[in-house]
């Protein structure tokens, strides 16, 4: 037991964490981004990235029709090429979970989990009762993964115990039924030190995944932030023997960005993390670019966005 759950033990552990070397982290992330991945490695990276995509739509304008189209795309990203793997999950708002689950089941996508954003996403500003109900609704509708947001206001004003308790509470609701991903909204946490603290806090509270952002504010999943989080899961594995997943979300729009993320994972947490069980990429536009790059690798000439779906 690293902490006993009390605010004081949590604070003393988190404040004992070493600070992040900001310049070092940024330089390391920038250096890894210069790796050139070509030919067969690139083929592998593209397919791996596709299988790690949490295909997301989180818009006020989402309709059942759009959710169904997204689910069909999740199962068969490129209808003309059955060798393209399915994506990691479909990520939607909680009232769309049932529609997504039913549609996935009806088109042979039983193995694709539906992730629901929860706890008053994206702001996290709601009472505990509402957050609980929000999560319970999603679980009852068949969500296999819960993407909860932390209360950034509480975190930034030092109420770490409150943030911890909320995660513990949601984790209890999820139980064995659903994976819990904890969203930090790193763009609002201001410093890398805070990102490191939030990472440990969430892991100690029982998160299965730690996730950078909601995708609603910028900056989102910058490379140094992902690096800090990957270091946290690596070190946490060293301390406890338990592997926690990482999910960058927001701002990863093209294949190059995605491959940079895979390089970061491989070089920081290690190759064990290079699978959809431990690394996911929250994205929507990214999938089309991955498909176009895949076409380019297959056909030998550059592809056009006209030949992938609009979404």
């Amino acid at each position: 037991m690293i902490v006993d759950g009390s605010e004081s033990s949590l604070k003393s552990f988190l404040s004992g964490l070493p600070g992040v070397d900001q310049v070092g982290a940024e330089a390391r992330a920038a250096m890894l981004a210069t790796r050139s991945i070509k030919t067969t490695s690139k083929n592998w990276a593209i397919d791996t990235a596709i299988s790690m995509v949490d295909l997301t739509t989180l818009e006020g304008a989402d309709t059942p029709g759009k959710i169904k189209a997204l689910c069909s795309k999740a199962v068969r990203p490129d209808p003309t090429d059955p060798s393209v793997p399915s994506v990691g999950a479909v990520c939607v708002y909680n009232d769309m979970v049932n529609i997504a689950r039913t549609h996935l089941d009806s088109i042979g996508g039983q193995y694709i989990p539906v992730a629901a954003v929860s706890t008053a996403f994206p702001s996290g500003r709601a009472s505990l009762a509402v957050k609980k109900q929000d999560t319970q609704d999603a679980l009852d509708n068949g969500a296999g993964e819960i993407d909860m947001v932390i209360d950034r206001g509480a975190f930034l004003s030092g109420h770490l115990g409150q943030v911890f308790d909320e995660i513990v509470m949601i984790k209890e609701l999820c139980g064995e039924r659903a994976h819990l991903k904890v969203i930090f909204e790193t763009g609002e946490l201001v410093t890398y030190d805070n990102v490191r603290k939030a990472s440990y806090l969430a892991m100690l509270a029982g998160a299965d995944f730690i996730k950078t952002s909601t995708g609603k504010i910028s900056p989102a999943a910058t490379a140094p932030v992902v690096l800090v989080m990957l270091e946290a899961v690596r070190d946490y594995f060293g301390m406890t023997g338990k592997r926690i997943g990482v999910k960058p979300a927001g701002g990863i729009r093209n294949t190059k960005d995605a491959i940079k993320q895979l390089v970061l994972v491989n070089e920081t947490a290690g190759p064990e993390w290079l699978n959809p069980g431990l690394f996911r990429i929250g994205a929507s536009a990214l999938l089309n670019d991955l498909l176009m790059q895949r076409m380019k690798m297959r056909d030998g000439y550059y592809a056009s966005p006209t030949y992938v779906t609009l979404d």
Partner: protein, 279 residues
């Protein structure tokens, strides 16, 4: 004595002036066979980037009214006029003609540009039609832009050939990627500096220097290119482009005249609209 301030010749992609991502340059000799410059030798990836920026600029360029496009293109001619001396000097160095002949070419090129600028808001009237049909309908045909067009600039005329290829494509509302003449690329580079300072939105024109034959198969096969002007390609390279371009039915044309309406029409599509009479 002053130290020479030598110019680095760069590409023009998305409104910026990058070097080739490949880092390559090629040695350009002047008409006397002496070293003149090291222009970039663009790679297929530079071309790919240019297509992305040209595609991104299509909507904005096409949304501007035809009248406004004409005004912007006329503005380009105004700025070219101020660079007459630089254009002429470069033509003298590259083609080995005397200054008077070079200046005449620059003036012809500017006039040609103005000629195409004028067509922007007239092409639909001249090229479109009202068709009589058997039924109570109005039936109109109007030409619309094609999208992204790649121009292999004329190899023999430094500036005039280049202007004829580019201005015709722009007048039709398309965005362009120009592959400059291998032997005479300096006019294209200077033209890119004119374009960057004359209200033409970023991405509408992208200019690459390098070996046409090396880029040709990639241009021909790129699925996001809608049309190609192969006037500056050899017959052999043209054949290669036509074979590769069949995959997505690209419009591929070669032209013999610098100033012709056909050059604009070649990269436009006709849209026909039916509208009931009396409604």
């Amino acid at each position: 004595m002053r130290v020479d301030v030598k110019k680095t010749y760069k590409l023009y992609i998305g409104g910026a002036f990058p070097r080739s991502e490949s880092g390559r340059v090629y040695e350009l000799k002047d008409a006397k066979g002496e070293f003149l410059a090291n222009p970039c030798q663009a790679s297929r990836k530079d071309f790919r980037d240019a297509v992305v920026s040209a595609r991104g600029a299509v909507t904005g360029w096409n949304k501007a009214t035809a009248y406004n496009r004409g005004q912007i293109l006329y503005r380009v001619a105004e700025i070219m006029e101020g660079r007459t001396f630089q254009f002429a000097e470069e033509i003298v160095a590259m083609e080995g003609v005397n200054f008077k002949e070079a200046k005449a070419q620059v003036e012809a090129a500017i006039d040609c540009w103005v000629w195409y600028a004028g067509w922007c808001d007239k092409i639909a009237s001249v090229s479109g039609s009202t068709n009589s049909v058997s039924g109570p309908y109005y039936n109109f045909t109007v030409p619309e832009n094609l999208g992204v067009v790649t121009v292999f600039a004329d190899q023999k005329s430094s500036l005039l050939g280049l202007v004829a290829g580019l201005a015709a494509v722009l007048a039709g509302g398309n965005t362009a990627i120009v592959i400059a003449s291998e032997k005479y690329p300096l006019s294209a580079i200077t033209l890119s500096e004119v374009l960057a300072t004359s209200d033409v939105p970023a991405g509408v024109v992208n200019i690459l220097t390098g070996y046409s034959a090396e880029l040709a198969p990639w241009v021909g096969a790129h699925m996001d290119v809608d049309g190609i002007d192969v006037s500056g390609l050899s017959k052999k390279a043209e054949e290669e482009v036509r074979l590769a371009g069949a995959e997505n039915l690209k419009r591929i044309h070669r032209f013999n005249q610098f100033q012709s309406l056909g050059r604009i029409q070649a990269f436009m599509e006709n849209k026909t609209v039916w509208h009931p009479i009396g409604v």
